[in-house]
C-alpha cells in the first residue's frame, strides 16, 4: 500500500465506521455489532496512521492531492510530524473512547445511540482531515466540518439546555471561524497568492510588523476551538453533551484542532523566523497567559466536575498557544508535546467524571465525598491524570511544562521571567482545582456512612461503573504514565 493510499484509507476508515454504525445500528438493528465494529475500525485507522509515522520519521512527507477546487486551491493532504502526532492522538484515543462510550451510553441508558456513534465517527474523519491538511483551504474545510458534525453531539439530549448550549457552540465557533479565520485566510491569499503550508512560512519577510500582528491575532482568535478568552464560552457549554463526547472531542479532537491549527499556521504560514523577528508574538503570549490564569481561577470555583474540567482545558490549551506564540523551536516542541500529554491526561479525567456519573449519578465535586473508597480504580486514575495535568514527574505532562519553561527562557523578551512565573502559578492553580476531587474522594467522610450507616460498617462494597467504562480510563491513565518514558521519541518526531 503506497503512502498515498494509506492517507486515503486513514481518512475513509472513520467514514466507513459511520456508515457501518448507521447500517448496523439503524437499518439492521444490531447495536452489539455496531459497538464492536467501531473500535475495530478505530484500531484499523490507528494502524493506518501508524504506518504513515514510519514514512514521516524517515523524513518523508506523504502527500495526497485529490483535486483542484478553485484555481490554485486544492483539496490536498500532506502528513508532517505535527499533523501526524495530532492524527495519532485522535485516532488512538478514539479506540479507547469508543469502548468507553459503549459502556457509558448503555450504562446511562442514552437514547439515539446510533446517531451518536455515527456523528462521533464522522467527527474523527474531520479531525484527521485537519491533521493532514496541506493547505489552509483544506484545513478550513475540515475545521468547519468538525464544528458542524459535533453540533448534533452537543445537542444530543435535545433538552432546552442542550439546545441553548448548541446555539452558543455553533454561534461562537462559526462566528470566529468565518469572521476571523476565513478573513485571515483570504487576506493571506491576497497578500501572497498561495495558501499552501510551506516550511519556513509563506508570508514574505517584508510583511510589516503591524500586519503580522493583526494576522496572527486573526488566526489565533479565528481558530476559536483553541478557546482563547474571550471566545471560550462555547467549551463549558459543550459539556451538556454525553461524557464520551466531552472526553474525546472537547478535551482532545475538537479543542486540539484549534491549537493544532494555530501551531501549524505559526510554523507553515508565518514561519518562526518572521514571528521571532517581529514583536507580534508578544501580544499573543500575553493573551495566552491571561487565558491560562483566568481559566484556572474560574476552574477552582466550579462545583460541577465537568465544568471544572472544561475550564481546566481552556487553561491547558493556552499552554499550547503560548508555545506557538514563542515562535522558537522549543516552544513549538513544547506545544506539540502538550497536545499529546494533555490529551492523555484530560481524557482520563473526563472518563472518570463519566464513570462517576454512570455509577452514582453525581455531577458535583461537593458530592464526591468518600466515593474513592467505593470507586478506587476510578479515583486512582483521576489522581494519576491530575498529576500529569499539573506537570509532576514521572507523568507525561511534566515534559511539556518543562520544555515550555525552557522555551520561555529562550525568547529574547526582556520579561521572559514573567512568563516563567505565569507557568508556575498556573501549575499551582491546577493543584487547587484538581486535587480537591481526589482528596474528597479518598479522605472525606462519606455522607451516607453516618446516620443511615448500613450493617456493612465502614467497609463498603466496591461500586465501580461498568467494566467497559473503567477499563479505558485505567488504560489512558497508564498511558499518561508511559508517555513520560517515551517522551524522547516524541522529541525525535517533533524535531524536524
Amino acid at each position: 500500500m503506497s503512502s498515498e493510499t494509506t492517507i486515503l484509507v486513514a481518512l475513509l476508515l472513520p467514514v466507513l465506521a459511520a456508515v457501518s454504525c448507521l447500517l448496523l445500528g439503524g437499518g439492521l438493528g444490531r447495536p452489539n455489532l455496531r459497538d464492536i465494529a467501531t473500535p475495530l475500525i478505530g484500531a484499523c485507522t490507528f494502524a493506518a496512521v501508524w504506518r504513515l509515522a514510519g514514512d514521516v520519521l524517515a523524513g518523508g512527507r506523504p502527500e495526497l492531492v485529490l483535486f483542484e477546487v478553485l484555481p490554485g486551491v486544492e483539496l490536498a493532504f500532506q502528513v508532517e510530524p505535527l499533523g501526524l502526532l495530532y492524527g495519532l492522538v485522535a485516532s488512538g484515543l478514539w479506540i479507547v473512547t469508543s469502548i468507553y462510550a459503549a459502556g457509558y451510553m448503555r450504562g446511562h441508558h442514552e437514547h439515539n445511540q446510533t446517531r451518536f456513534f455515527t456523528f462521533f465517527a464522522l467527527s474523527i474523519f474531520a479531525a484527521l482531515g485537519i491533521a493532514f491538511a496541506s493547505n489552509l483551504f483544506t484545513l478550513f474545510l475540515f475545521y468547519e466540518a468538525l464544528t458542524l458534525l459535533t453540533f448534533p453531539l452537543v445537542t444530543h439530549h435535545g433538552t432546552d439546555e442542550a439546545r441553548r448550549a448548541g446555539r452558543v457552540y455553533l454561534g461562537i465557533l462559526l462566528f470566529t471561524s468565518i469572521s476571523f479565520l476565513l478573513f485571515a485566510i483570504l487576506f493571506t491569499w491576497r497578500l501572497t497568492g498561495t495558501i499552501e503550508f510551506t516550511p519556513g512560512g509563506i508570508l514574505g519577510a517584508d510583511t510589516s510588523s503591524g500586519m503580522v500582528t493583526v494576522l496572527l491575532l486573526l488566526y489565533a482568535f479565528g481558530a476559536g476551538k483553541a478557546a482563547l478568552m474571550p471566545f471560550h464560552r462555547w467549551l463549558p457549554n459543550a459539556m451538556v453533551a454525553p461524557t464520551p463526547v466531552s472526553a474525546l472531542l472537547h478535551a482532545v479532537a475538537v479543542v486540539k484542532a484549534g491549537v493544532f491549527a494555530i501551531l501549524k499556521i505559526v510554523i507553515y504560514v508565518f514561519g518562526l523566523d518572521l514571528l521571532a523577528g517581529s514583536n507580534a508574538s508578544l501580544s499573543l503570549m500575553t493573551i495566552a497567559s491571561f487565558t491560562m490564569l483566568m481559566a484556572a481561577v474560574i476552574a477552582i470555583r466550579q462545583d460541577n466536575l465537568k465544568a471544572r474540567l472544561a475550564y481546566s482545558t481552556i487553561s491547558q490549551l493556552a499552554y499550547i498557544v503560548l508555545g506557538a506564540a514563542m515562535a522558537t523551536a522549543t516552544g513549538v516542541l513544547a506545544g506539540g508535546m502538550q497536545i499529546a500529554m494533555h490529551a492523555a491526561g484530560k481524557i482520563t479525567l473526563f472518563f472518570c467524571a463519566g464513570a462517576i456519573l454512570v455509577a452514582t449519578h453525581k455531577k458535583k465535586v461537593s458530592e464526591l465525598d468518600g466515593l474513592g473508597r467505593t470507586m478506587p480504580w476510578t479515583f486512582a486514575a483521576f489522581f494519576l491524570a491530575s498529576l500529569s495535568i499539573i506537570g509532576i514527574p514521572p507523568l507525561g505532562g511534566s515534559w511539556a511544562k518543562w520544555y515550555l519553561m525552557v522555551g520561555a527562557l529562550e525568547t529574547g523578551f526582556a520579561w521572559q521571567a514573567a512568563f516563567l512565573g505565569v507557568l508556575m502559578l498556573s501549575s499551582l492553580l491546577a493543584v487547587f482545582y484538581l486535587m480537591p476531587v481526589v482528596v474528597r474522594g479518598f479522605f472525606a467522610a462519606s455522607p451516607s456512612a453516618g446516620p443511615s450507616g448500613s450493617a456493612g460498617g465502614d467497609r463498603k462494597p466496591l461500586a465501580e461503573a461498568p467494566f467497559l467504562c473503567v477499563a479505558p480510563l485505567v488504560l489512558t491513565a497508564l498511558l499518561s504514565l508511559a508517555l513520560f518514558f517515551v517522551a524522547g521519541d516524541l522529541v525525535t518526531l517533533l524535531n524536524f
Partner: protein, 494 residues
C-alpha cells in the same frame, strides 16, 4: 449547424406553448414541456461548450443582417445564462408536484404549462438576443407569464401579490423601455453592439445619464435590488412552490445579467465606475440588503418568506460583486448567480416537499419533521449550509471570490461585512434546523402521519442539494465560465 440550432433555444418553448394550449391533455403537456426544456438544456450546453474559450455564435433572424435585423448572439456570458436557466428549468420541471398548482382545475392545467413555457422562452430570449428593444419584448413576455404563475398560488394573497408584482414589474418595464428609447435617440440603433460602439457616454450628456438611470432603476425593480425588493417576498411566498423554485432560481438571475450587460457592455466600466462612480450607491445598497434582508429573514415564521428575504440578501451579494468592477469580484457575482440558483432552487423544492406532506411550512408546524422526513430535511440542511457559505458548498465558492474581489479593490471593511453577514444566515438557517431536528412537535399538531416525500419530488430536490456540494468542490464549469464571462464583460463585450 450550431448557428441554426441557436434560434431553437427560444423558438422551441415559444412554439411548444401553443401546442400545449391546443392539445389540452395535462399529462401530455407535462411530459411534452419536460421534453422541450430538456432539448433547450441540451442546446444550451452545446452552445456553452462551443463558445468556451472566447468563441461567439451569431444568428441573423430572418436573414436580415444587423443593425437592420435582429441578431441573436451567444458568447460565454449568454451561454452561461442559457445553461443556468435551462438547467434549473429542467430540474424544476422534473419535479412532480402531484396535481399542479392548487388554483388550477384539471381541465385547465395545460394552460399552466403553456404559461410556464412562455416564461422560459422570455427568459432565454433576454439572454440570447442582441437587440435592445427585443430584450424589452422578451422581458415583458417573461414578466407577464410570471405574474400569472405567481397568481396561481393557493392562498388568496397570491393574487394580491401577483397584482402588486405586476404593478412594480410594469413600472420597471416602462423605465427600461424609456431607457432604450433614449439610447436609440443618442445612437440611432437598437443593436446592442452598435449602441456600445456609437455611444460615447459622458457626464455632460444628460440624455445618456438619464438613459443609464432609467435602465438601472428599471432593471433593479425586476432584479429586486434593495430597496426596490418589496414585491419579491410576497410573490415568492404565495406563488405555487414549484413556481417559487423556478423564479428564485432564474428570473432574478436573468435581470442581473441584464444589469451587468447594460453597465459593462453598453456604457462601459470606465464611465460607470470611474466617471459616474455608481459603486458609491451600489455598494452601500448591497451591504444594506445583506444585513437588513437577512435580518428580516431571521424574524420570519414562514419558511417560504424566510427564504424569500434571504433571496433579497443574496441579490445583495451579486450586486456587490458587480460594484467591485474587477474580474475577481464580478466573476464572484456571476458565479453566485448559478450557485444561488442551485441552493435556493433546491430549498424551494424542499419547501414544496414539506408543503405536500406537512401541509404548512410555518416554523411551528415543522417541529420534529427531521425524523419523519429525514431525506427532505437533510436536503434542507445542505441548502442551508450553502447559504451560510460553509466550505465544501457552492456558497463558499461565491463568498471566496466576492471577498477576494472586494479585497482587491482595497475595501477591507466591506470584506469584513460580507463575512459578518453570513453569520445572519447562520442564525436563520440554524433556527429552522433546530426546529426540524430538536424541537418536539406540538400536542395539537401530531406529525405521526407525515411520511417521506415521494421520489418524484425528492429526487429533483436532491439533485440540487448534491449539485450544491459538487459545484462547491469542482468549480471549473462554474467559476471557470464565470471568470471568462467577467473578463469578457469588463472588456466591454458580450
Amino acid at each position: 449547424m450550431i448557428e441554426k440550432i441557436l434560434v431553437l433555444e427560444v423558438v422551441l418553448p415559444l412554439l411548444a406553448a401553443p401546442v400545449c394550449v391546443l392539445v389540452r391533455h395535462p399529462r401530455f403537456c407535462r411530459l411534452f414541456s419536460l421534453g422541450v426544456v430538456a432539448a433547450c438544456f441540451a442546446i444550451a450546453v452545446a452552445l456553452l461548450v462551443e463558445v468556451r474559450g472566447g468563441g461567439v455564435i451569431s444568428y441573423e433572424l430572418g436573414g436580415w443582417p444587423p443593425p437592420l435585423g435582429i441578431e441573436y448572439r451567444v458568447s460565454t456570458v449568454n451561454a452561461y445564462l442559457l445553461a443556468l436557466v435551462t438547467s434549473m428549468a429542467l430540474v424544476v420541471f422534473s419535479f412532480d408536484s402531484r396535481g399542479g398548482p392548487p388554483r388550477v382545475p384539471e381541465e385547465r392545467r395545460h394552460l399552466y404549462y403553456a404559461v410556464f413555457l412562455l416564461c422560459i422562452s422570455g427568459l432565454l430570449g433576454i439572454a440570447i438576443t442582441g437587440d435592445a428593444f427585443n430584450i424589452f419584448v422578451f422581458l415583458e413576455i417573461s414578466s407577464l407569464s410570471s405574474y400569472i404563475l405567481v397568481s396561481l398560488g393557493g392562498h388568496r394573497r397570491a393574487v394580491m401579490s401577483a397584482f402588486y408584482y405586476l404593478v412594480m414589474g410594469t413600472i420597471g418595464g416602462v423605465f427600461f423601455m424609456l431607457g432604450v428609447g433614449l439610447l436609440y435617440q443618442a445612437t440611432g440603433t437598437l443593436n446592442l453592439r452598435d449602441i456600445a460602439a456609437r455611444l460615447e457616454p459622458s457626464l455632460d450628456d444628460r440624455g445618456t445619464v438619464l438613459a443609464l438611470a432609467l435602465l438601472v432603476v428599471g432593471i433593479s425593480i425586476k432584479l429586486a435590488v434593495f430597496p426596490l425588493h418589496h414585491w419579491l417576498p410576497n410573490a415568492y411566498s404565495f406563488a405555487p412552490p414549484k413556481v417559487s423554485a423556478f423564479l428564485a432560481a432564474t428570473a432574478t438571475k436573468v435581470s442581473f445579467y441584464l444589469l451587468a450587460m447594460v453597465l459593462f457592455t453598453i456604457f462601459g466600466a470606465p464611465f460607470v465606475f470611474e466617471e459616474l462612480r455608481l459603486q458609491a450607491v451600489l455598494l452601500p445598497l448591497s451591504i444594506l440588503a445583506m444585513f437588513l434582508a437577512s435580518g428580516a429573514a431571521i424574524f420570519q415564521t414562514d419558511l417560504r418568506r424566510l427564504l424569500a428575504y434571504s433571496s433579497v440578501a443574496q441579490i445583495g451579494y451579486m450586486t456587490l460583486g458587480l460594484s467591485t468592477a474587477n474580474a475577481t469580484g464580478l466573476a464572484g457575482g456571476l458565479v453566485h448567480l448559478f450557485n444561488h440558483a442551485v441552493m435556493k432552487g433546491g430549498l424551494f423544492l424542499v419547501v414544496a416537499c414539506l408543503l405536500y406532506r406537512v401541509g404548512s411550512v410555518h416554523i411551528d408546524a415543522l417541529a420534529g419533521i427531521g425524523r419523519r422526513m429525514p431525506l427532505t430535511s437533510a436536503a434542507l440542511v445542505i441548502g442551508g449550509l450553502s447559504l451560510i457559505g460553509v466550505p465544501g458548498t457552492v456558497g463558499f465558492v461565491s463568498k471566496w471570490y466576492l471577498v477576494s474581489g472586494v479585497l482587491e479593490r482595497g475595501w477591507t471593511a466591506a470584506a469584513v461585512l460580507i463575512l459578518l453577514s453570513s453569520l445572519l444566515a447562520l442564525v436563520y438557517v440554524g433556527k429552522v434546523v433546530e426546529v426540524l431536528y430538536f424541537r418536539k412537535p406540538a400536542e395539537t399538531q401530531p406529525i405521526d402521519h407525515v411520511r417521506e416525500a415521494p421520489l418524484g419530488m425528492l429526487a429533483p430536490a436532491w439533485v440540487l442539494a448534491a449539485a450544491a456540494v459538487f459545484f462547491g468542490l469542482t468549480t471549473d464549469w462554474t467559476y471557470g465560465v464565470a471568470r471568462e464571462a467577467a473578463e469578457l464583460l469588463l472588456a466591454g463585450g458580450i
